[in-house]
Subunit: 572 residues, 2 copies
Amino acid sequence: MTSTDEARRIGSTEPVWWGWGPASAHEPLPDEVRELLARLGIPARPTAPVPLDEVRLPPARLPAAVRDALATIVGSGHVHMHDEARIRHCRGRSTTDLLRLRAGDAWAAPDAIVLPADHDEVLAVLRLASRERIVVVPFGGGTSVVGGLEPAGPAERPVVALDLARLDALGRVDRESGTAELGAGLRGPRAEALLAEHGLTLGHIPQSWEYATIGGFAATRSSGQASAGYGRFDDLVVGLRVATPVGSWELGRAPASAAGPDLRELLLGSEGAFGVITQVVARVRPLPARRIFEGWSVPDFATGTRLLRTLAAGDLRPTVCRLSDETETVGGLARPPRPTGRAAATGPAAETRPAAETGPAAETGPVAVTGAVAADGPPGGCHLVTGYEGSGPAVERHTAEVAGVLLAGGARRLDAAAGPDWERGRFRAPYLRDALLDLGIFAETLETAGFWATLPALYAGVREALIGSLGAAGLSPVVMCHISHLYETGASLYFTVVCAQGADPIGSWRAAKAAAGNAIVAAGGTITHHHAVGTEHRPWLGAEIGGLGVDVLRAVKRTLDPAGILNPGILV
Amino acid sequence: MTSTDEARRIGSTEPVWWGWGPASAHEPLPDEVRELLARLGIPARPTAPVPLDEVRLPPARLPAAVRDALATIVGSGHVHMHDEARIRHCRGRSTTDLLRLRAGDAWAAPDAIVLPADHDEVLAVLRLASRERIVVVPFGGGTSVVGGLEPAGPAERPVVALDLARLDALGRVDRESGTAELGAGLRGPRAEALLAEHGLTLGHIPQSWEYATIGGFAATRSSGQASAGYGRFDDLVVGLRVATPVGSWELGRAPASAAGPDLRELLLGSEGAFGVITQVVARVRPLPARRIFEGWSVPDFATGTRLLRTLAAGDLRPTVCRLSDETETVGGLARPPRPTGRAAATGPAAETRPAAETGPAAETGPVAVTGAVAADGPPGGCHLVTGYEGSGPAVERHTAEVAGVLLAGGARRLDAAAGPDWERGRFRAPYLRDALLDLGIFAETLETAGFWATLPALYAGVREALIGSLGAAGLSPVVMCHISHLYETGASLYFTVVCAQGADPIGSWRAAKAAAGNAIVAAGGTITHHHAVGTEHRPWLGAEIGGLGVDVLRAVKRTLDPAGILNPGILV
């Protein structure tokens, strides 16, 4: 990253400090969504974020000697202690994070931001921090939605956000083996743009793709919208380079090995608590020649779920597959509004997006969606999007085979725009959330996964917990759900909650999240399919991995981070 | 396991104590192989194993109080201290293991064999052993070829072999999710027979399948001959139940999770050093309706390797795929002789084998192979076997697509018997080794894996190291190799060495293995693709996983096995 880029990122208004994406991509909530929410009894109460200069944050506590030592390592231009940089590195992008920021609360801001240039500088920073007992929070895209950037621990210790933005190189591309070395600080669009120059793609497109980074994908076990086709990010990782307080660690000598435990799997999902991932060697594939997205209506969520299971059992999982439940279908979030000024068309992502904009999706015009779904689908039906990527004949065959299963199972094909329209709006949800927050309406998500046999009870349990908890607080919640990641043995469930904020939105949500966490554990699901643990899911980690699992994580932490400087309170 | 079964296993002559499989399956080396070896300058020197009663082993050192305490846990009928049981649990099935046993050396025999009935009895044994500082070596099929059953550590501590044969139940079968609970002590054939009653299969068929166990597959990251179709065993594991000296541990709540590091991956490949795997929840698939095996001749190994890479890149990997190099093709081990009295037809495996014997393979008669290959293939060509399993139309399409790639790449189809013949002889190699050892001829294997770009140098490096080391000892080695596990990013290399024994076969092989290990590390491959680390690969584990990797394994070991009773010297 050049210093100009860095200045633009740290000091500019892009992205907005209080939400998602650049200001130019923000638009008011479309009238039809506003009307729908009003009909559902969710009141609008316009609420703007406070001005930047009214944000409150504590004085920076970094001793001058430590600041100078950090500057000696990374260069004085790469240590930032001014308010805006600190505010921009304060917490992540959960709704509770945004509510606090918008209200001017940046009390959790780090004392300094340090931008190392490379692996060795990261090592040096970690050695210094260990000696000086400075807390280090590895910072990629800052997109955590589970409190992963808000470490606990002794309040008197200064906190440094270790921003990896300068580790943004594409290293060696091994075309023969189909692997590429990717710097941890590369954001999704830039990584794809660099790979596209070689005719390659990662195919990892989570909703946070515009801002999230390669290192963050690995550290949180991210899963992209095309996970069934390309694999979860943990599947894509072939090798890792990690800087720890006690030294360097490189792993991954072969596609597969029986040389003891697979220690890469200990670093994937380590959320910055064991070390800082500085480079990922990832599996890469040729850019797809063909891309097809289709929209379907299935009779109900249970039928749709069974159809997805049939596809998974028959080795027919589409590259992308997203089944909305009845509420999400009616709510229209399956085909979200697509304002003309949206980020993907004007923001930094635009130059660097994968083939989506040039594929078949680009040929169809915008569609006002909420109404369209209601009109297209049979009453009570559920919206299903399927996507296929690859070489031409294989994609067409796959599309036809899936269509055969879906039609035989009672699905009805929607108009030709339904699939491409979803594809074009795939990054829209966080912008929509900002528009909802502007109206004082609460919106947040949570997710889980389970085996096919446990999925119906898991779905019902989480829904009831959310509706029960938020309903008891008088907040008229709308709880929507979709399945978007399929496996042979089960699938994910992704819940979106929209409700009034009430007097204490953060407290109400924490209670609802706790109820949902308990319901997930009771129904046998995982506490998180792809959002990671952070601070929000910590209470249920023991239920997920057992007491011995927690003991083992502690032992690993003591070995790699004996001074306990890395993201304290995360994982252990 | 009933006590009759147990008696048959512990006290009977089946399998033979000095080699592989039952005596009824053993036949002398076929004349044509004998002649071939003579032509290659490898002298035969008939060498029978010593009689059982001449095997030397140390007095059993287990204190009577400990024996009584063990008997209280598992029942007195399930603690064995007689010589034959101890000899049968002495070391594994590497060639150096067999050479020592055949020569009457059972100095490494455990002091007692304990057969717990279930998970709780395993826990109780581990608690007792921790208290009494008794070494415990978990024992599945006893088929380790890397010294995994010969723990190091203080010589004064008594050693108990914890034989898991009684943990042989098929637990809950979840047809909807496609998972099944399998007892750790289930051998391959029995597991498949139990699953077949539900119309299901694991599809995990390594060469050791007749004797190796579910727990062993997991603890060593086994990879079966159909790995490209069904996945390696670590891919098949959905959940694990583990007994450790500090308590029980269960993992695996969903098909995928972002709840921190995947700790299952710490137990897979743990080789009994962290705990005893007592149950595996595995992914299971419907029994294949159709099974096709084909034989091909490709111009040379390099061309064949490139063709396999093309298949892998095009998502066309056959379920089974085995490419022999020029030497293995000429040596005929690609289509090994198939004596009529072989194990799979008469041994315990026969009743319980998967569909192989009833598929197309069963329709063709035996073929005298060594000659056939030489006659079929063009001079200098390489033998390639491809296999396909699944539903009818998908299998036929897959077969045709692969054939298209192979034919376009210069491969020539062999006669119709070539594929099925390999399939029928797939478990034959260890029997053949016994026949070679009977003639005083040394035969052993080693394996590695690497990325496609590193594979040619890895192949050349290991070959040169083996030929150089054994050649310098004057042993005229024949070094054969095949690729049998394909990944998108690379493949495995499996070497078979046949040579004269010379004066010190064990010393010569250790030197050759060390040279090969160094060559593997230098060429960037993994020290083991599916044989595990054991004691044989320990010297290179640090090169594979780094100093920090070793430190982390040590920390995990201290946490789960604080008294250091489990397989000491293995992994850490």
